[in-house]
């Protein structure tokens, strides 16, 4: 009985959290499920309210100012060089030693914002007792992904503003927050989508961009091949014309979301079998609300959640339980999360899922107590392992099946090898196996760790063991 609880405690940490930190297994072994559920009861546990982090509008404005400044500096420099080239030769010799090589000004403002947001995010994951809610944040952030390659200054703010407040709230609220966020509107081009028959469309002869509408249907809600048509995509795109961004250069509300009626396609539209009268901004909200309540969306989300936490081919009973809870609760994500950790299938299923790189490196950091002054080491590691932070290869986000991540095993070995060398505390590797894996450790892994030729090698083997790699 005691053994079972220890086992479940370790499983709770590895499957639903970021792995043990300190004596976490012992701490939650009294009631592992209760410990997970207790995280859901902590008010605002998902929020990051750090006054030092800029809101997305502010960040967009600051990034705009920064680019203007850099541009002006470059122009000034060029003019300066042209002057020097024309000046007599003796003044040339007296000039600064390397006029053609300006000092490296360091990371630009967008990168600074990205790094600060990354640090806030990883600090939260590193410090969490278990990290179940934080894992949900990561799940939803990947489900509704944007790319920092396109929206670097506000990629982190997007997660804080659109994902975190709703991660235990209603799916429909998160959906609306996401699709009306400047980061998403820019990432999937809707900010520039203009209704052909809108005032702006008639004046400028510009038109529709279907990108966001298609991805909402295919990726964010119903799921691919769930019966919607090209007409649904086009009509939905028309519905959300006018969902745009106040230009960041504007002193008032620059960088904020705006509904611009001059860009909005007039008229009623039919999307997925429902008719929507033209009520301006409300028209799009109505479509999103219906999509959020669509049974296909419930199936889509239930499958993805179960696949993420439990197995590539999740147990059908678990998916059913999640789907029916999603529908019955009108998309209450806290209740869905409760069902996820209460269902027997979520605990009985073999640990076959490979942890994703970010999850693995956070778990490794927690397990060993290695620290860093900033997020750069983790960011660099994730770049190497193919999961660069907030930079998925496509709007679909990072893959969530084993096949996608197995190839990175050799790179993980490089990282683990280096990681082991960074642990300076005099840890006893055998004790570390107990606190990190506990009952999950196989006799073979215990033996391999205790027989390692160095402490760094013992730690690397522990971090590379199947029990640590899989959730």
């Amino acid at each position: 009985m005691e053994n079972d609880r220890q086992h479940d405690a370790a499983l709770a940490l590895h499957r639903f959290g970021f792995g043990p930190r300190g004596d976490a297994i012992a701490k939650i072994s009294v009631d592992p499920r209760g410990a997970l559920l207790a995280e859901l009861d902590r008010p605002n546990i998902a929020r990051i309210d750090d006054p030092a982090l800029l809101g997305s509008a502010e960040a967009a404005g600051a990034a705009f100012d920064f680019r203007q400044e850099r541009k002006a500096q470059r122009l000034a420099q060029r003019a300066n060089q042209a002057n020097q080239a024309m000046a007599p030769s003796e003044s040339n010799a007296a000039a600064a030693p390397n006029p053609e090589k300006p000092r490296n000004p360091g990371p630009g403002l967008p990168q600074q914002l990205y790094l600060a947001e990354a640090k806030a995010r990883f600090d939260r994951a590193l410090a969490a007792d278990i990290g179940f809610v934080e894992r949900l944040v990561w799940f939803w952030s990947n489900h509704f992904c944007v790319s920092a390659d396109k929206v670097r200054p506000i990629a982190g703010a997007f997660e804080r503003e659109a994902i975190r407040p709703h991660v235990l709230g209603r799916f429909a609220d998160m959906l609306l927050a996401v699709e009306s966020h400047p980061a998403m509107l820019h990432y999937l081009d809707n900010a520039r989508s203009i209704g052909p028959d809108s005032i702006a469309g008639r004046n400028r002869n510009k038109g529709l961009n279907e990108n966001l509408a298609r991805e909402i249907l295919e990726l964010h809600t119903l799921g691919v091949r769930t019966g919607y048509s090209q007409a649904d995509v086009t009509n939905f795109a028309k519905v959300i014309t006018g969902w745009s961004i106040v230009p960041p250069r504007q002193p008032e509300h620059g960088g904020e979301f705006t509904f611009n009626p001059r860009m909005h396609e007039p008229g009623a539209e039919t999307v997925a079998g429902h008719d929507y009268a033209d009520t301006g901004f409300e028209q799009g909200k109505a479509v999103l609300l219906d999509l959020a309540r669509h049974p296909a969306t419930a199936q889509h989300i239930a499958t993805k959640l179960a696949r993420h936490f439990v197995a590539d081919e999740p147990p059908p009973r678990l998916v059913d339980a999640l789907r029916s809870t999603f529908i019955a609760s009108d998309g209450n994500l806290e209740q869905v999360a409760r069902v996820l950790v209460s269902a027997p299938e979520a605990w009985e299923t073999q640990r076959t899922k490979l942890k994703r790189p970010g999850e693995w490196i956070v778990a490794a950091t927690r397990a060993t107590g290695v620290t860093a002054p900033d997020a750069k080491p983790i960011i660099g590691t994730l770049n190497m392992l193919g999961e660069p932070l907030w930079r998925p290869p496509a709007p679909k986000g990072f893959d969530d099946v084993n096949a996608a991540w197995l190839d990175g095993l050799a790179q993980r070995l490089d990282i683990a090898n280096q990681f082991g060398r960074r642990v300076t505390q005099p840890v006893d590797p055998k004790e570390l196996v107990e606190t990190v894996l506990g009952p999950l450790a196989s006799p073979e892994t215990r033996q391999a760790v205790s027989r390692a030729e160095t402490r760094p090698q013992a730690i690397a083997l522990l971090l590379m063991s199947a029990e640590f790699q899989r959730r």
Binding site: T371, G380, L413, I415, N417, T424, P429, S442, T454
Partner: protein, 445 residues
């Protein structure tokens, strides 16, 4: 002074990321010419003043081989009649062995050097290398972790990891020059610092711009673990690490088949990567030690010596490792330039291995092994051994080469006669409770 400051700035800028505690995975900016290994050089403030007063400018580089080197396979007692009985066809000999194993390199009629170490052999013949055999630290158990603690801490028991003997030795030296206290703050004691140099004396440390490759041994251990616990991961690792190539490079399969030259675009063989890593690390350390105003004392560690299976002393894994070590010694000699004549490189390991071959063509954890001294300052061309013999009754616990020389005596001899650390300090602070272990004289000079 100016160049000196410049050197410090290089270290500081390269290691600035690590000053607040350090992390993993290449946190250091890259400065190729400086930074190749996880190792440490002592700050110039600890220049040995006494030695300088004698007109010498000694350099000491300590290489720690982690994993326990099989001293009998590195320096074989070919003149002992029990040798072949013990090791059978794995016994190195002065003639070519089975499967084309090359002959060992003769040293003094009784001992012969592993054929993978021609550079060390050349140094030995030039009188610039000494081997001390049947040597061991005071540690008598067989745990790597504890054995390394004892080896590097200089204490008699495991468990203390606050400071290492090399650091305490340096801390005892009178500084030879004025030190700018502000500049000293810049020296980061890196988190990868080997225990042997950790402590109060300021050190500079550096980490490689690229990750050191996992050793073949590490890959084999992980693969073995996966084979028993997770066949899917084992399959992936086998494919990814191109294990056929590792096995070929390590002589672990089909030794009769000539090794294929790497195809263009093919991944670099780990064996070759390891060789390069050893040479780059040691060479980079030597470049700094060689500078007139550079540091004088340093330490490096190389992993991978825990050869439980398929040891390959003559033409396999251990031969590759010893070849890499040989390359590292040659790189030190080359990069030291004229300073080689003031140099001692000391190569030490936590313990030795079983005298007999085990059931998997390897050797298990043992006791006595060798220590190597190389460099122009070494009074070399000798194997120093109070040879215990290899009959069953001669072996320690009837399984290991019996230790007859205390490693601390060797290290004390080097520290006293080369760097001029005081005898009393050696007995009290550097190797506490070692008053009865007399420094071995005549190793340098």
């Amino acid at each position: 002074m100016a160049t000196n400051l410049h050197a410090k700035e290089s270290f500081m800028s390269a290691c600035s990321d690590r000053r607040t505690g350090g992390h993993f995975a290449g946190t250091c900016a890259t400065r190729r010419q400086v930074l190749f290994s996880s190792g440490v050089l002592f700050a110039w403030s600890c220049l040995p003043k006494l030695a300088r007063a004698e007109g010498r400018d000694p350099r000491l580089l300590v290489m720690v081989l982690r994993g326990a080197l099989d001293g009998l396979a590195a320096v074989a007692p070919v003149g002992d009649s029990e040798w072949v009985r013990l090791r059978g066809d794995k016994a190195l000999g002065l003639t070519r062995g089975p499967q084309g194993a090359p002959a060992a390199l003769p040293l003094d009629g009784f001992f012969a050097l592993n054929p993978a170490m021609p550079n060390l052999h050349r140094m030995y013949r030039a009188g610039h290398a000494t081997i001390v055999h049947a040597v061991a630290s005071p540690y008598r158990e067989r745990s790597h972790f504890d054995g390394q603690d004892v080896l590097e801490s200089g204490l008699t028991r495991p468990g203390s990891v606050e400071s290492g003997w090399l650091n305490r030795a340096l801390a005892s030296l009178e500084p030879a020059g004025a030190v700018n206290p502000k500049a000293r703050e810049g020296f980061a004691v890196g988190p990868v610092t080997p225990l042997v140099v950790r402590g109060a004396a300021p050190v500079m440390s550096w980490t490689p711009p690229r990750l050191p490759p996992p050793t073949d041994d590490m890959v084999m251990r992980l693969l073995d673990l996966y084979r028993h616990t997770d066949p899917a991961l084992a399959r992936v690792l086998e494919e990814r690490m191109n294990l056929a190539a590792i096995a070929r490079a390590g002589g672990m399969d089909q030794p009769e088949k000539p090794a294929q030259p790497p195809q263009p675009g093919a991944p670099q063989l780990p064996g070759a990567a390891q060789r390069k890593y050893f040479a780059d690390s040691a060479g980079a350390a030597a470049s700094f030690l060689a500078r007139p105003d550079g540091p004088r004392i340093g330490a490096l560690s190389f992993d991978g010596w825990d050869t439980h299976a398929d040891e390959g002393a003559a033409n396999g894994r251990l031969a590759n490792l010893l070849g890499a070590l040989d390359g590292a010694l040659a790189a030190v000699e080359t990069n030291m330039g004229p300073a080689w004549r003031d140099t001692v490189v000391a190569v030490i390991t936590e313990f030795g291995r079983t005298a007999r071959i085990n059931g998997t063509e390897g050797t298990d954890h043992g006791t006595a092994t060798i220590a190597l001294l190389a460099g122009g300052a070494v009074k070399g061309g000798r194997v120093i051994a109070d040879w215990p013999g290899l009959r069953d009754a001669d072996l320690y616990q009837q399984r290991d080469l019996k230790p007859t020389t205390d490693l601390r005596a060797v290290l004390k001899g080097v520290l006293r006669d080369h760097v001029r650390v005081d005898d009393k300090v050696l007995a009290r602070a550097v190797f506490p409770d070692s008053a009865d272990v007399k420094a071995m004289g005549g190793l340098v000079g």
